[in-house]
């Protein structure tokens, strides 16, 4: 049985050959520790890491690549941003659609004296920017939100919110792009994003264990690092460097992973984010049409139009639990999907699927119309019993 992988929102699979080749090339032919020595293999490893920074800077329209800090995932990036920035007495605003990567650090900070407002969203996961503005207080320091929900796929109005936070001047817009970096156009200038957290192993087609944080110029002065340690720079001093990106990059980095991430991101740049988006949106539209035929038996969450969502569809099947459906799809059809709560209890409360969750299909660059049609056929058979 051929495996049909429809869990790309958890991690994309397969990866482009270029990702694997770059990782093999690094470990076979380079292998040095970047920034730790002056020999040619160390310098070449440093070039690998810098090339990845450059590629991501192009992808996100970041002028200075050194404003991008590498982390092991979006979660670590969000923790650096939120725990480093917010102080007791500050007010932060987030939404009712957040993943725990945002919600748990914010709840932790709330227990330490940060004021937190969670702005509700519609049962389709849609956010009205005016509700964000209505939550502003004199001490509001940051608006923190996902670029697109990992539960409903709803694309959030980040650009509109960027206009609001920019009007306030001292307010920081922190965006969780775990689901969108590489899948939707992300432009930190046009969207007025001050902090952008991304992961490498989803729509950037790098390996797991890679991610990063873009920090707008000047904002690093207000963000304490989460970890301190060796950076290969200023080795004569025992204080942490205060410059980007070393301030936030202590310890030997995941160079082999970053080699893969650079190749994955370059693959997306070659295809063009718009072309990737067009392809994935078409697959999403096709699957939504199939579900339309099953509407008596299927509840679909999120916006009805494919262009308002990332290539991800959450649904429930009549009286069949998500976990039973997922097991059937895996065992009988070789279809990999994700059942349950998707690490986002707030979002499930918003759309009314807490605690049972949903079945989630998420498409990636390597999915085809045949995959979509097979998945729909499998659901038809399951519903027929």
């Amino acid at each position: 049985m051929e495996v049909v992988y429809l869990d790309n929102a958890a991690t994309s699979f397969p990866k482009p050959e270029a990702t694997l080749e770059a990782m093999m090339r690094y470990q076979r032919a380079i292998g040095g520790s970047p920034g730790r020595s002056g020999h040619r293999l160390s310098i070449e490893a440093g070039r690998v890491v810098l090339d990845t920074r450059d590629t991501l800077a192009r992808l996100f329209n970041v002028e200075d690549p050194l404003r991008i800090v590498f982390t092991k995932n979006a979660t670590e990036a969000l923790n650096i941003a939120l725990i480093g920035l917010l102080r007791p007495g500050d007010h932060a605003i987030t939404t009712g659609m957040e993943h725990n990567a945002v919600m748990r650090p914010l709840r932790f900070l709330a227990s330490r004296g940060v004021e937190l407002s969670v702005v509700p969203c519609s049962d389709r996961g849609e956010l009205d920017p005016e509700d964000i503005r209505a939550a502003f207080r004199t001490n509001t320091r940051a608006v923190v939100l996902t670029h697109a929900s990992n539960v409903t796929g709803t694309i959030m109005p980040v650009q509109e919110i960027g206009v609001l936070t920019r009007e306030r001047g001292d307010m920081v817009l922190c965006v969780d792009a775990a689901q969108t970096a590489g899948a939707l156009p992300v432009d930190v200038e046009a969207m007025a994003v001050d902090l952008l957290a991304f992961t490498g192993h989803k729509s950037l087609y790098g390996p797991q264990g890679t991610g990063g944080l873009y920090i707008r110029k000047g904002l690093d002065e207000k963000i304490a690092p989460l970890m301190r340690g060796g950076t290969g720079s200023r080795s004569e001093f025992e204080d942490q460097p205060d410059f980007m990106p070393d301030k936030y990059e202590s310890g030997t980095p995941n160079t082999i992973g970053l080699a893969g991430l650079g190749a994955g991101a370059a693959f997306i740049l070659e295809q063009g984010v718009e072309a990737v988006r067009e392809k994935e949106e078409a697959l999403t539209r096709r699957f939504l049409h199939h579900l339309q035929d099953l509407r008596g038996d299927v509840t679909v969450y999120g916006p009805p139009a494919a262009q308002k969502r990332i290539p991800l569809i959450s649904f429930n099947l009549r009286d069949i639990t998500p976990s039973d459906a997922a097991l059937y799809l895996d065992e009988q059809w070789g279809i990999m999907c994700r059942p349950g709560l998707h690490c986002a209890p707030a979002a499930h409360r918003t759309i009314g699927t807490f605690p049972q969750g949903t079945v989630r299909f998420s498409f990636g660059f390597f999915n085809t119309e045949e995959h979509v049609d097979l998945a729909a056929e499998a659901l038809r058979r399951l519903l027929r019993g």
Binding site: S37, G38, G46, R47, S235, E236, P241, P245, D246
Partner: protein, 75 residues
Amino acid sequence: MTREDPFGVVLFESVSHALRAEKIIKAENIPCKLIPVPRQLSSDCGICLRFSTLHKEQVESALAGKLDFFEVALL
């Protein structure tokens, strides 16, 4: 550029800066090479960018406004 030419080095805050500078200088077709920072300049374990003194002005103007660097030293 041979080793015997009088040369200068540009010192940077970090290896990332040095690597970026190398890209910028090479894009201008100015010969340069990344080397460990000479001991007489710093005990740092970092690298610096070596160039022929003939190209000092070109190196400085190529980097100006694009990248912060500590200093340009002639050896």
